[in-house]
Symmetry: D2
Subunit: 461 residues, 4 copies
């Protein structure tokens, strides 16, 4: 009982099973270094306003440093009865420096302290995810040279639709991950608002200087309402949601490449080092990493649900339910980090199989839309052109030929505006040469886009 | 069959049950006006680049205006076999102006068209939610005068913790809704990127000018990758998530006020016009609106789940699954809008019951923390002060008195540093006068904060 | 105000926006007929115990019948201010028969009434889903004749693994839907417990006979605790969850067939009547129905989230949040019903393309596992056999041949136990002839299984 | 590479980061003992059909026993590169007994093996949860004696509604947990279907006897389709869902008791051993365990989402995504187990505070409904009675009295049917004596119900 920071008014010891049930040290120990950083800033501020002497503050800072090193070296002992990371570190400090240590918690409570720790931790976590995303973008852009000549079918409804340069796929994912990075950045704006000093829920009668703490910890703003601080986990929900969209993007990419690795598609070969085998079927090479990336997205999506469901219907201010918030965040962060660590290598090492791709590239009338646009250019209204080409496709299907194999006379029988130059619009190579709108999958657009991406990623890196 | 825009290559009519299953007109009809706005901008752009004459463009614009008015007046006939809003409007246009109408769909597909419509719709929807949130903030701030003198218990773990000014509660919710508004604004940045011109998935060989369309529709940027556009629903997921946090904030407020309306708390009285009765129990006055607001948050949370689960594992580019995206968004938007329409009135009309609140305000040792801070100011280390006050609280409990009722001698017996001025720190009135940190619930802080909010809301309004 | 059944203690009229916000008639009108059925049983019971005369009961029953017919004919007027279906029907009854109508609500409240209505409705709904599932199973089993000769690759990790008879796929889905049906049946056990008579939350002092009502409505049991009844929505959560697993099963089947419809797989052709085209690409035939079935599964999954999140953290007994429960159920039910209405036709009308399937059937070493089992039968330990075959597969790959094309000498060079009869184990036809374990995809097992399914479905139908 | 069971066809070693990413041993190690049990049954069956000699089978069984003991003693070394529990145990077996060990995996694959392990594990897990639920029911029922005299307000909309005996609350939770137990039992029916022998996805050509394995492992049935087995995780989804409803029930109970522990309600006192304090506020006693139980329900709800989202859209048969299934189950099971371990003690040790409860028990017109029923008994139509009592309540409110304090003359002025005996229906004590319907909260019903529960729990225990 005496171990508890709050034992004063209690006449009965805590049931050890309750300690086990309520402890968070098994998962919040990873907040140790940010907790120390926050406490050091707090101590400096307390000294500035005279609630500590400079010597006391320095003593606290030094010993916290040592405790931090102890933790980093794995020499710190965790005890369930000390509940959480805050109590562990404060208790260790008091064990070292007695009454001076007993002063550290002046003008704060664990409610604002844990909010601070989380914000510091999440800020760094999002920074690391941002870097991983950039690395992944780089991996996609770097494929440009090796896939330079490769044209792929583009799909809608998983049906072959129109051809695009292979790199058009790579850049599509770069765009998605760029939005993810932008969202992380927006998220940071709300992270960078200092909660410390809200104390339990009402602020304090002590003359603390929250602006100073914010300055020391690189926060851009100070939270303006202590009831809000004590209950606010928006920043976690937003961070987890941002990660869930990253997970969704990764899952789509994984699905696509799993398809491309099938015997049937045959577009892609993963290196043996990134596939695994079967315990029973000797011939198997399975894209397990991609499957797990797809599967793991479900966890991150569920983490969004956990945090939102957790927060729903809680009155002001702090409720102990909030302790579970960390589990959702850590789970999402660890999952996304693991996926993002492997993804760039897979992107870099996978090989497109040009032979397999090209062997069937003219299947599926990928040039039908361009033929329709040829007609539009010759004055045929779009809807009419659409019908004309639909008719031509059926003709080809019945004869088992491609549009490019259709004789000119047959074209002209259907629509006399079609001239000999039509063959310059047919076949996938011609199509990707013709595609010209900004953002299209045509050869010229892709080149420009790759250049832009290179510049952007160079500048950022 | 002939009704279909895409019937050309088909030899068999669609099963009517399939039409019913795949139609979206029953819910995307609400996109009618943004669809028209988008088509008009598209037509202007086509004229600029010469794919339409100016006369053709004007004819299209005028007739679309008329169709829009017809829809607004409820005189437009919806037909399941025309599938979606895009086909309805284009078909009506062609019925009016024939071949010129057939040219409208030049250089675009329904894939980029629906993305455009959604972005236009969501942009306006978020704008409306933002205004509703501002109105709700105003309602909270406006309570300041009437609740000026009222002190409320602040809670953690739903246990009485420290006293705060009533308005501190109101401003806590203002902070939460302000973050919501900031998130909506961030969301808009990604909404304001033009998808149109991505066509089906590959862009087009036609010389369209996407910058021009963006300019006409007030978009700040043009989407750079057509595969991405065709598959991207990030903006919907992000908008729905933003609404889910609004729902969570509303649910917490509703929960709190439901508690406050109980016989046991008795803090709050809702006007009869905002409560309902029981079909069996004649005495009941139920806070149904608040309960439904709390309950409805579950829907919006589930909408986040729907959109993320929907998107998970879809390969590039457009897949028909995406049609279901609108249901999630409309559901979330309608739910949040309905809640936000009623919430300000409830906030404005509910009455705090000062008599009931004050009758028990000194229960729960709300001044214990301030007493501890008194000790800290007198040099007692915080942890020691915490223990001392814990001990004093137990003493009071055993005697059935408040801290303010404790004789000085008894205080001094426990800690001789306590002097006669301690009584100026005890009792909730003294506490809220002493609370001074920025963001605290003390009387002075609240006054400043209210002033800031008034300025902010005045400026914005 | 006078319209309200509960207006007695109120001094102020309800805000019309509150009526709009709290009404449920827009979605609970579909409970009309079960509400009437429940009220009729209730009236009979009231007569039995003497709270109504027999004449009164009969009058109520007759007029409720007429009201039901009015509703069925679409001649009943719905009014927002009458809130819900219960008030509409009772009000109409009172309008017809005055004081006798005023007696119907004796000994019940809307809390147990709505629970009864829901249980009656859900009971029928699950029955209909069960029938639809059986129809779908029948459609799969009925494919047996037409696909009798067709062997398909079986996949794990979407990599070709071992061959199975086509019907093995069909029966796999039958198994899944059978479990779904079993779950629905289990669900019914908890549906068939009568809530009526719990009244508001505490039961009643009136001498009602709940056993009698249960008997009249075909319930097998009477709920034993009124607080529980008033708050219980387990049966809805369970029904929605059961539907979510159906949705998941449908989504997997849809995914598979979408893959099979690609140019790359080419296994399956959907009839034109079940595909749709593109507004821009004239050649497209898209499996939209399957995509929507896959996409719609996200809604049903989200409905599970909604109901669980809704229920979380609600104290006893009835809370108005529960009104939202119906939305989750109706949404799930309508979605699943729509999918199950179309699925059997798709199953029946889709054609396997034997030519395309067979053309590549020997790709992917589908016989490797059987070769390993051949070695096991010759005394080679399984793990050793696995390595041997792995080695042989690599050899084949390097030479570009299948295992069946490997000369015997080469087999024997690797393992001398391999004899000439090995060729009877190689090639997919041999493999499906050899597969013999119960539940396997081999030709004989399938035949037996199909027979069993036919019997089972015949008996049930 | 040589460590891999499937390395035969591979020319490149696995990237160690891939091993780390794809390993499951960090969480599936807890399947060790069921994996061994399953393998032993498998070996016995192999001996029965002659694929092993009896000596080989016995050797395998004995060494697996020893390996199991090694694991139980914590002396077994886990290695990431051995991927999962199956490979660890098989590798250890081969290290001990060479070629005999290499034969164990005959006629099975990890796909059916892991399904077996999971079913065995889940079967035991649900059994343990069932026992914990029974213990919790017992704790509620055991409160009957101590709370025998206590009447509590029953609530709807959290507004005081009607009085019920305290034990009526306890039994309401017993009912909910009984349905949970019934669901677990239903779940078991589908668990008890043997997957083993489905092998990878197609069954096997070896003469295995699955009925025998089922018999040895106490399964009641054998799964009939190998493709289904390889992909089926219904049993996990169903088990997790069943736990989510338990979580929801616990969350409602927790919410209720958190409310009852407030200063405002004051109904309940938790023992100090089950509350915790504040690091800053010396007077606090927080119901943290209840709050965490409420909060943890969000995790279990999210686990349902994870498994459903994971399974959505996966084609047949096994996909590696499924590996993530265990995380959802273990998380839900651990969470529920932890909550159920503490809940009975809290139920047993909490004290109702009769003084506080009784002090305000006559507030809120808890007898209004019974008064209405008094009128009904005197022939007043229910709706009329409702209005009359509504009017009387307003009268009382305006005078600040209870119904029991209303003079007879005033009653009769409103309705002359009211006689002197009305006072026997007013006041909460009279009400609970009058409540008589089956399942009501009246004193007699409760007594009977408690007796039934005692019998039921005695018989089961």
């Amino acid at each position: 009982m005496s171990a508890k920071a709050w034992g004063g008014a209690f006449s009965e010891a805590t049931d050890p099973r309750v300690e086990l049930f309520t402890e968070s040290i098994s998962f919040d120990a990873r907040l140790a270094l940010v907790d120390i950083r926050g406490s050091q800033a707090h101590a400096k501020m307390l000294a500035k306003v005279g609630l500590l002497t400079n010597e006391e503050a320095q003593q606290i800072i030094d010993h916290l440093n040592e405790i931090g090193q102890q933790i980093t070296r794995g020499e710190f002992e965790w005890k369930t009865e000390l509940e959480d990371i805050h109590m562990h570190i404060e208790t260790a400090l008091i064990a070292r420096i007695g009454d001076v240590g007993r002063k550290l918690h002046t003008g704060r409570s664990r409610n604002d302290q844990v909010s601070l720790d989380l914000k510091l931790y999440v800020r760094e976590a999002l920074q690391r995810i941002d870097e991983a995303l950039e690395d992944l973008q780089r991996a996609f852009v770097d494929r440009y040279e090796q896939d330079r000549e490769i044209i792929l079918p583009g799909y809608t409804h998983l049906q072959r639709a129109q051809p695009v340069m292979a790199a058009h796929y790579w850049l599509a994912y770069c765009e998605k991950f760029q939005r993810d990075r932008d969202r992380l950045r927006d998220c940071s704006k709300r992270l960078n608002v200092l909660p410390l000093g809200a104390a339990a829920l009402a602020g304090t009668s002590l003359p603390i200087d929250r602006e100073e703490t914010a300055r020391l910890l690189n926060f851009t703003d100070v939270a303006a309402n202590s009831l809000d601080v004590s209950s606010d986990r928006d920043f976690l929900a937003e961070a987890i949601f941002s990660m869930s969209l990253i997970a969704v993007h990764l899952s789509g990419w994984a699905e696509e490449w799993i398809l491309w690795c099938t015997t049937e598609f045959g577009f892609l070969k993963l290196p043996d080092a990134y596939t695994t085998g079967s315990s029973i079927m000797p011939q198997k090479r399975n894209p397990d990493v991609l499957e797990l990336i797809r599967g793991k997205s479900a966890r991150v999506i569920a983490d969004v649900q956990q945090i939102l469901t957790l927060l729903k219907g809680l009155p002001l201010a702090y409720n102990r339910d909030l302790q579970e918030d960390k589990l959702a965040f850590f789970d999402a962060f660890d999952t996304i980090s693991a996926c993002l660590e492997l993804a760039p290598s897979i992107v870099r090492l996978a090989k497109l199989r040009a032979d397999k791709i090209n062997a069937r590239l003219e299947e599926g009338f990928l040039d039908a839309t361009t033929l329709m646009e040829y007609l539009i250019q010759h004055g045929v209204p779009m809807r009419t052109g659409h019908e004309v080409v639909g008719h031509l496709v059926r003709l080809c299907e019945s004869r088992g030929i491609t549009l490019a194999e259709m004789p000119l006379a047959d074209f002209q029988a259907v629509n006399p505006l079609i001239a000999d130059d039509v063959y310059g619009w047919l076949g996938v190579k011609n199509v990707v040469a013709k595609l010209q709108s900004y953002g299209s999958g045509g050869i010229n657009c892709i080149e420009e886009q790759v250049e832009e991406w290179r510049t952007r990623l160079r500048t950022e890196g």
